[in-house]
Symmetry: C2
């Protein structure tokens, strides 16, 4: 915590030094604001000309000099009149002064050595000697509207990175470089996985054949896992009358819904933003006995949420998201068993994808605010303890988010840390323990005594959404997918045209066992074709020439493991099939 | 043709006899119109009270008497004034007279014996003796608005069936009775396949687990067939900006589109009513060389068409229809080969489903109206001849619809006759030979010489739509699906609770080879459970008791073939797996 605060002080101080350096080079610069952000800081300026990367180098150099100068930061309380006089040439500062004085805030200025004075509420190092001059870097220039409002003037924003040590900075830079290489939007294009097309719209990715195979492989795997555990698929349409969302309450409360399609003579129709109401209506449409419960419906189906276009990003933030959604309708005595079955599945899926670094966030009720929740506090407490125990028993990391539960039941969120250490929220289990789903939809089942009971509904998604999960997968594996996921699993490269017939034979022996193979015909040099296959990160490259044809073999080169000698057609087919069947990572 | 005309005369004459019978019973009846329809006729009346089934019997009896009376039909031209005088008490007829006179039509009346005079343009038998009194039947009563307009008065419509012979009538009645038993809406409910829910909306079926499995089995089969022929899956979102449909022209021309979702700040978004524009944009988003062509994109994806609610019917006419859609982008020299590949697939699919009774409708251009079509008439002629030859070579029945082609290319429609002799249009192949798709979207590929070529687009669906195809399948098989399609393939019935453990063992040995099996626990009598499994039309019922457990066998009963003796667990698993793998009908 202290370190965190100290680092913030360093970052804030560097923002001042940056402003000082900018003012020195551009005495007419108008200064806006310079806050601390994650990994560093920024400062916005109105300047007489556009900045170039060289300017950043100058500023950096000057900032290092100031750091070396061991300048002290000294604060001073000033009156509004004094402040206005000091910043009379700084219109943005004057605007802030007006505003702060309206709000009756105390105004302070901070002076850096003798070189720079800024309007600031404090939070700096005492002396620039506390800053490691090698642990910061001016990162980039971007445009930004004054106060983030596009009706205002466009300013130039300089971003800086800053850490306590050079090692930390280097590690961050390396991670960023790696993240850039792994960027799923970049790889999605390079590997021919998906695209976004203006005329179709932002946040609505279209998948090329390779991306479509990746989608299907992941989705089919999740379906298989579920069916093996007694989940049964259903199918629901993507649109509905508004009536359904009146019952569920979404029409009033859910604000990411697309506007209605108004069929004036009939009804308003909506794209579904989530599946619960459809699932509940299907359950409700037939009678259920206590003996059939739990009913475990699952469906991989697309939802539509109107996210702001500025917030969309490749596959990780889309407007059409396909969820591996499931709703379990259970008797209260079945909750624990059902949650445990879900944990089994989630554990199994994460293991398959090699996602071993994850933790569970348990969102519980707040015992200090019992009135916020419906149902018996004793039941809440017991369920939450049972959930924690189920997680702890597995040796999984977890933390508790007190007061983060929905008003109708506790929730489990699974947060996966990828190979670059970034957090991604994936699976969710939400208990609809005391309403509102079952109540609003008047769900019921018949007990042994003929009386009606109300089922508990457990909502669950493993991947979260196919699109987002694929985005994460692409970045986690840097596009070099495990064999079972790879859209093309083997490229067969004949040394020359002479071996195209043998290549066909190789391909047939692979496709016969379900391997996705293709031939890279001899219309380019061998070297170029091998490099291209590597660029495409295809797991197996099988080169065939004179020797291979004569012995009925292939020369095997694995994307990650390199040369693997020669294998007979039977051996390579068996080897690959085994790797696919076992979903080797 | 002559027979057809004669039958129409009989039906038309019967409509007159019906009106005469109605007038006799209800002298104040107001007569609307009484046309010939498929299989019979109807007549609309405004009557002082609602008709009951007994009334139909009276009318029928009276009509038979008139037939026996050998009444002649005699026509007479009348002036408008005469007509108005004759029908002065018949307001609907007066309305028609006004209208006909405005249109300068000649008015005729037809007299039946001495009993009845109607305003009519003719087309009767000369004498009622030509009508077989045993070959007609008054079928049902329904409400109908005058002139089909709901703003008008509601009338009572009487439907009659009429044929040349009693045998024809009986055959039709039997077929109708069978069709009623096979009605997919009825079976869909009884077999737990799908439902339609008011709050979700008409034409938007939701599928229960059994229906979802049926859907998936059919769709996966079609995908497999396509992939084996080199088609590659893509994935496209279900919505798009209106911009896409401006390019395609659908926005102006396609009237079954759902109204837009108006995101005022951004764009109007639409549900896709068809897939072509998305496919074309995906093709266009990357460069293509002549060497990669044909590009064969396929996607099983849902379209949305706003059909009038009165026209919706179960699965056969829906608003959300999932198409097994494919677009092939080919060089002109590849058209024939690509169409032939499509015919291969269609032939294979029909064979698998046992759809051996089908014909092809070839829609061609009209050489008398060359100006209606774009492109070289010679190319049209050649392509059409090539298509006919491809069909004829296979020995498939076909007929030619001259002038039925779209303005940009000829079309093939496949019409399947089901077990009840009803026609269903299934597959379609549409050549987009000369625009508009490739042109509007400016599609291209690079030729060997570096110049740009424009691909031909071939549109194709095999099933048409999953929903409609399932409706047809359910009726064709009367819900007794071939093993590979059956949602539940085997029900294991333990004679008593004592054998539940052995039942589990049987089930595991079946699920191990991918068979969808379930246990029907001993909470009902054996007989009741066997009957229930038969009602559910489950292909295999496996009964297990003392004897079976001791020998490690099951007692096999097949839904269609009856008792099949006892088999070991290995034998029944192998037998069923073979039947599934071979898709035995």
């Amino acid at each position: 915590m202290d370190n965190e605060k100290k680092l913030d002080g360093i970052r804030h101080s560097l923002a001042h030094l940056l402003a000082a350096a900018v003012l020195k080079k551009f005495p007419d610069a108008k200064l806006a604001i310079g806050p601390v952000i994650e990994n560093g800081f920024y400062y916005d300026f109105l300047l007489p000309r556009s900045l170039a990367p060289e300017d950043l180098k100058d500023f950096e150099k000057d900032m290092k000099k100031m750091i070396g100068g061991k300048l002290s930061f000294t604060g001073k309380e000033v009156s509004v009149a004094e402040a206005k006089e000091i910043f009379k040439d700084q219109p943005f500062k004057l605007e802030l002064i007006e505003e702060f004085s309206d709000e009756d805030k105390t105004l302070t200025t901070y002076k850096t050595g003798e070189v720079f004075l800024d309007l600031c509420r404090g939070g700096h190092v005492d002396n620039t000697s506390e800053i490691n001059a090698d642990a910061f870097k001016l990162e980039k220039i971007a445009g930004a509207y004054w106060r983030g409002d596009e009706k205002n003037q466009m300013l130039q924003r300089i971003y800086g990175l800053a850490f306590s040590s050079k090692d930390d900075l280097d590690a961050y830079l390396k991670m960023m470089e790696e993240a850039k290489k792994r960027d799923h939007r970049k790889l999605g294009k390079e590997l021919g996985l998906f695209t976004i097309i203006d005329e179709v719209g932002p946040g609505l990715p279209l998948f090329y054949p390779k991306g479509a195979i990746l989608r299907r492989t992941v989705e089919n795997y999740i379906t298989e896992i579920q069916e093996a555990k007694g989940y049964v698929p259903i199918w629901i349409p993507h649109i509905t009358k508004g009536e359904l969302y009146k019952i569920s309450g979404h029409l009033d409360k859910y604000d990411a819904m697309y506007p209605p399609m108004d069929l004036k003579d009939e009804a308003k129709y909506y794209l579904k933003p989530m599946n619960c109401p459809h699932f509940m209506m299907l359950y409700k449409s037939i009678p259920h006995s206590y003996r059939e419960l739990p009913v475990r419906y699952t469906c991989t189906t697309t939802n539509y949420r109107y996210e702001k276009s500025g917030e969309l990003s490749g596959l990780t933030r889309v407007r059409s998201l396909t969820q591996d959604d499931c709703h379990v309708f259970a008797r209260p005595d079945q909750i624990e068993g059902e949650v445990n079955l879900m944990l089994d599945m989630i554990g199994e899926v994460y293991k398959t994808f090699g996602f071993d670094n994850f933790r569970v966030r348990i969102s519980t009720h707040d015992p200090e605010n019992k009135e916020k929740y419906i149902g018996d506090p004793e039941i809440w407490k017991n369920s939450e303890e049972a959930l924690s125990k189920l997680i702890a028993t597995r040796g999984w990391k977890y933390d508790i988010g007190v007061g983060e539960a929905a008003f109708y039941g506790p929730k489990l969120d699974f947060i996966f840390k990828d190979v670059l250490g970034r957090d991604w929220q994936l699976s969710t289990i939400q208990l609809d323990m005391n309403l509102p789903g079952p109540e609003r939809f008047a769900l019921e089942y018949t007990n042994a005594d003929g009386k009606k009971g109300q089922p508990v509904v457990i909502h669950r998604a493993i991947l979260g959404s196919t699109e987002r999960f694929l985005g994460i997968l692409i970045e986690h594996f840097a596009g070099a997918f495990p064999l079972w996921l790879a859209p093309v699993q083997a490229t067969i490269i004949p040394v020359s045209e002479k071996f195209s017939e043998y290549s066909e034979k190789v391909m047939n022996s692979l496709t016969a066992v379900g391997i996705r193979a293709e031939i890279y015909a001899a219309d380019e040099t061998l070297g170029k074709r091998i490099r291209e296959a590597e660029m495409q990160k295809i797991p197996y490259v099988l080169v065939v020439g004179e020797k291979e044809e004569s012995t009925g073999e292939v020369s095997v080169r694995h994307y990650k493991r390199g040369q693997e000698g020669t294998l007979s057609l039977k051996e390579i087919a068996e080897k690959m099939k085994k790797e696919v069947d076992e979903k080797t990572i």
